[in-house]
Amino acid sequence: MLQVDKLNSFYGNVQAVWDVSFEVKQGEILAIIGTNGAGKTTIMQSIVGLVDKTGTVSFQGSDISSMPAHKMAELGISYVPEGRKVFPEMTVMENLVVGGYNKRSRSTRKDMISYVLDTFPRLKERLGNFAGNLSGGEQQMLAIGRGLMARPRLLLLDEPSLGIAPIPTEEIFKKIVEIKKETTIVLVEQHLHHALSICDRGYAIEHGRISLGGSGEELRNNPHIQSVYLGMQATPA
């Protein structure tokens, strides 16, 4: 469904991603793992047109390499950025409505709002509050909810559990597996045990290049992954 071919990404003169090619298949969860600064976020941002790049990105057969970021939601791609980036001076409800504003998702807005509030009951208590007054973790929940509102065909999740307490973190991972029935997912996540146990396939990124790829299980059992990414005390999830 998504094909990335020979992607090179740049911040000004600095190249952050080198010759990265991969595909995401319909209905799967693809995990991208790597240490800090490896280029995971840059790859996500390259897909949705937020970073200067060369190479080709195609989505459901059409080339979207030069498509601007603001067309992505309409096309069916939602990007949940790391670090929240909610609209602080709009209420929780307004943030959600904006998330589902494109033509494709407008008709199902009501259902999606109740789905999101069901996923994050904490947001229900905050519906009328300005997003900027939410706690950090609540803002993260809102960012994920806003991404879901667009009813994406492809959902790019960048560190969804950042700043989230243990119980809602468990919920998020359960929901990700549930959402997979309707949506293809690319996941960047620090909770690697979690990420590798729910993903179908994964790629490891080192210094802006793909160093390894395989099924979730292959990656979990790979000695290099265990020592570099999971830490020596790795226990299978």
Binding site: Y11, V14, I33, T35, N36, G37, A38, T41, E82, G83, R84, R122, R126, N133, L134, S135, G136, G137, E138, Q139, Q140, M141, E159, L162, G163, I164, A165, P166, I167, P168, T169, E170, Q190, L192, H193, V228, Y229, L230, G231, A234
Partner: protein
Amino acid sequence: MAILKVENLVKRFGGLAAVNGVSFEVGRGEILALIGPNGAGKTTCFNMIAGYMPPTEGKVIFDGKDVTGQKPYTLNKHGLARTFQVVKPLARLSVFDNVMVACLSKSRNITEARGKAIGVLERTGLASLRDTLAGSLSIGHLKRLEVARALATRPALLLMDEPMGGLTPPEVDRAIELIHDINRDGVSIVIIEHIMKAVMAVAHSIVVLQNGEPIARGKPEAVVRDDRVIRAYLGEGYAAGR
């Protein structure tokens, strides 16, 4: 004498009591963890202690003096520093300059500050990124830069708001070492963190907040076995995994 004592802290935002009667003490050399669900009031407690906002009610006693409502820069001068959960780097300055600016607070001139900044960068593992613009750092490195900038002001008490977010497990291990290292130098620490492995590795004691109120406190081993804490925060999964 405790380095920090908060008495009956209350913060109301309109009708909402984000923090409602929180009291605790941090002994000299102690590491205290503040945990609880999202929206429990943890960061708001930090905001009141560090002078980012005044409490509606209650007192903050730092180093034996009532400092309630004092400004962050005054408190920092007296040895209190904090990191932010949603990081606040000077995005268009290099990593080095970010830390150097913080070093200026306790230096006579810029040469001295530059020298100190090098030491802080080495200590926090940021030396190889010194010329990178802070705005282009990954989240894990930004969290580390927060710690570096706070350390650069040579605090006696360091408040850390989720320093481990976005770190891979081996990076978490290194961050745990760094916290032990900072603490060995005599810095008392209050830490907010959701990665329980890290909390258990560093905390001498824990206070648990829920809906702005303390629901448990004590030694880490006891607190994580508390039924209320498991229900409100840790979840059955955590309890089963122990």
